[in-house]
Symmetry: C2
Subunit: 307 residues, 2 copies
Amino acid sequence: MGGTAIIGLGAMGQGMARNIMQAGISLRGFDLSTAARDRFAGAGGIAEDSAVDAVSGCDLLLVMVATAAQAEAALFDGVLDALAKDAVVILSSTVAPSEARAIAARLNDAGHLMLDAPVSGGQVGADGGTLTIMASGPDTAFDRAEAVLAAISKKVHRLGDAPGMGATYKVVHQLAAGVHLVAAAELMAFGTKAGCDPKTLLDIVSSSAGQSWMLDDRAPRMMQTDPVPTSTVDIFIKDLSLVVQSARDSGAPVPLAAAAYQMMVGAGGMGLGRSDDSAVIRAYEALTGCRVTETEAEISATKDANT
Amino acid sequence: MGGTAIIGLGAMGQGMARNIMQAGISLRGFDLSTAARDRFAGAGGIAEDSAVDAVSGCDLLLVMVATAAQAEAALFDGVLDALAKDAVVILSSTVAPSEARAIAARLNDAGHLMLDAPVSGGQVGADGGTLTIMASGPDTAFDRAEAVLAAISKKVHRLGDAPGMGATYKVVHQLAAGVHLVAAAELMAFGTKAGCDPKTLLDIVSSSAGQSWMLDDRAPRMMQTDPVPTSTVDIFIKDLSLVVQSARDSGAPVPLAAAAYQMMVGAGGMGLGRSDDSAVIRAYEALTGCRVTETEAEISATKDANT
């Protein structure tokens, strides 16, 4: 008996699954999307038609769905009984600390252990096996999850044994990522409206004290008309909502995160929820009446000039 | 005739002056502070008792005071007449684009040229001669300022000939720097209140997608009781005020910068205006009832543990 399963084969889960299998670990998997299951099967995974079938008899389960509600729906409809006794569940979704604690309690009641183990690094990190993991949970759970965690990450931060601490570090991290992402849009829109050349502006700020990882990564995409989504506006609306709510629960005001959240909600309100999260620039473009994103005509002109 | 002068020998000006002199350029200087003048003289500069005496007959003048009001006070009380005819004035103070344009117009009326040339890199960059310069102005002014600019910087961005463009890029840059600085305080306070270890939190965020130059540079100082000021809260209150006002003038809303500005004003309101700008953490500490900064007792304990 035993074995390893994954639930959630989206933008993050697919890459994580591939890296686990490349480490020589046989993997069963489930996702609500048939296309995602087929893709997983094509990469060598054993795709099952239900979560219960995927986890049946497994003693290690990685959950990489988008929200706490999805995690609860996946876990609490037969899966806990279908797992082997005393299984370890690695919850890598970004959820509120209070949600991580609640899920851990239900898992413990059913005789299982939980690693509260959210990740940073996005789709690039998932594909490359270079995620950063912020994890809390019992030592036994860390020991039994070790090979899987090593396969998907470059660094595992062990943050004690209390469920919720992994989620806390991740949510605080998302404050930084979200504020820096929206700040990048804010400065690109303001600068362009004030007469700066967007590319020169990015070059100056990213080589000076205004640099951030998010500016370097997302501002170039803000200048593209239709970048391929790696993480969406909807995901960041959820993450910044978690930041604001978790900070309130802790008794910590977060005025910058609250402002960033509102601008991201605005991008969602413009119908851009499934676009790349760099599309928050469109909210600023709407409010400044100024276009940072290259128009098709400009892109054609650049292409013509280069041929 | 001819010669080079500097007005403003504060935290930035002293280092810039030393690097200009080390490039073999003789330099006369003035500052309202006697101590600053003495320090400049000790480094080999020719200190004068008034701005007019310092610039008399010079054809190149570097102005490195803190505000536009100080620049106007320094320039428009006899200095323009005391300069050689057709002199070049390098204005490196961070001022509003509208202020840079107004000062340039008065200089032009008096027969002089202006380089609108604010800098980034802080005191470390000033001391090391590694500033980034964002400059706009006539080609002639660039040519005649070249040796001085090369002595103080690692990179000169030439941003056209219109006065105000250098200031615009700098002000937009300060949006990023200011938001990232306050975001660093916001996340350190929230995380600490929520149970994270401050050093572990910084380690995780600064090695992930939440990284920023300001987080890397200022968060360690937020954990120190009384860091040596390199740039002050008052300076950032002024800079973020310029961001908010200049953005309004351009018709660009900047909700993140506005929130960051308010928190920096709060740090000033706590009496911390002359403290290092990392002291904005104290405003968040006040609002969370939680201490990120190490107490003296903790510092002693660490020292004891290390001996």
